[in-house]
Symmetry: C2
Subunit: 197 residues, 2 copies
DNA sequence: TTTTAGTTTAACCATTTGGTTAACAAAAAT
DNA sequence: ATTTTTGTTAACCAAATGGTTAAACTAAAA
């Protein structure tokens, strides 16, 4: 692993757990096991290092989503694939959703920069598909964006609000693993039951 | 308004928008229109001031929830009341959910402290009620905690991930207001359609 | 009218923090 | 073999930041 990679990995770990404002350059250097000056040698500033980490995180999730959004599967299959895919991925990157959401809320100016890229999550095609299936009478009529937000909410929220959710529902760390696995199927069933005619 | 109140309000505003790590004592003083020393005079330290704000925020939401959780209404009515109530409240306190979630993730040690209070959101009774309605055959059988998390997710997530949601679904600030109003009924319908036999 | 207790401010302080510099080492290019 | 480029470190710096202090001010109590 090159020094630059060491730095990037350490930065990802620290930024994702403490956020931009809470992260310390020294801590990143320590975790990477290198001198603090190297951070600036490779990434110039805290802001640029953060940007690298943030964009990487974002563009790691987005393409996966778009692949499903834009595939030729039926809506029901897409919902199933999305929950399955997303939960499996985020299980391996536990802090990602909370991190992205937190930093987008704290630095709304990022939004434009991040979403100008072609790799942004773009549900346009999926929305069109939902509308078509409504017109065909396959599913109930509703605002497609509300439906999309339902799926998104049910899938992402348990990770984004992890600490709170575990505490309120009194779920231990081990139980949470099982709970998430169970949730893949649960979300799919709930959504399909809710919208099918 | 007393100086202490001015400080508290300013602190709430700054902490909720920037989080603990991103907030600056000087900024809070400026927003309160008073000298920085007053913050320490009344609240001793940044940490204590933050704690006051955070606990206040938390205990503002929790009792409302419990009131609904523990009422004698039927499940369907409770769901309706919860979404209606929560969305209306949070519309007036836009940064609350993201703030609470962010700080609980960043300082998990808070969890014990916050949730030891009797004012914590406690869905135990609601879970029992769900189980009973399942046994009676009124609603489909499923893990009650999954169902609770569904309701919670669909209601809270749009606020917690506000910036992201608006950006991805391409909803303007004004449209978002209407969208949220529409969402009250939408969530209720979706959930009830999903679980009713 | 004088105490006294609480309130407010400007100036100050110590530490933290992001960032820089200059010397040095190792590798690449000549 | 020697120069040049790249990588690495320790020491340092200026600004920011949470916190303190001592003096001034205010209003109510004595």
């Amino acid at each position: 692993m090159t020094t630059e990679e060491k730095i990037f990995n350490a930065a990802r770990s620290v930024f994702q757990q403490k956020g931009y404002a809470g992260a310390r350059m020294q801590e990143i250097a320590d975790e990477a096991g290198i001198n603090k000056a190297m951070l600036h040698y490779f990434f110039r500033s805290k802001e640029q290092l953060f940007k690298a980490v943030f964009l990487n995180a974002f563009y790691q999730i987005a393409p996966q989503m778009n692949e499903i959004f834009n595939s030729s599967d039926s809506l029901f299959i897409k919902i199933e694939k999305f929950t399955e895919n997303y939960i499996s991925f985020v299980k391996k990157n536990r802090f990602l959703p909370a991190f992205i959401i937190q930093e987008m809320n704290n630095n709304p100016q990022f939004v434009k920069e991040v979403l100008s890229n072609e790799a942004r999550p773009n549900p346009a095609k999926l929305i069109k598909q939902v509308q078509e299936e409504m017109e065909k009478g396959i599913i109930k009529t509703m605002n497609p964006k509300q439906l999309l937000l339902d799926i998104f909410s049910m899938t992402v929220f348990p990770f984004a609000a992890q600490t709170l959710v575990k505490a309120i529902l009194e779920i231990s760390d081990e139980e949470f693993e099982i709970f998430l696995e169970e949730r893949k199927k649960h979300i799919t069933e709930q959504i399909i039951n809710a919208i099918k005619r």
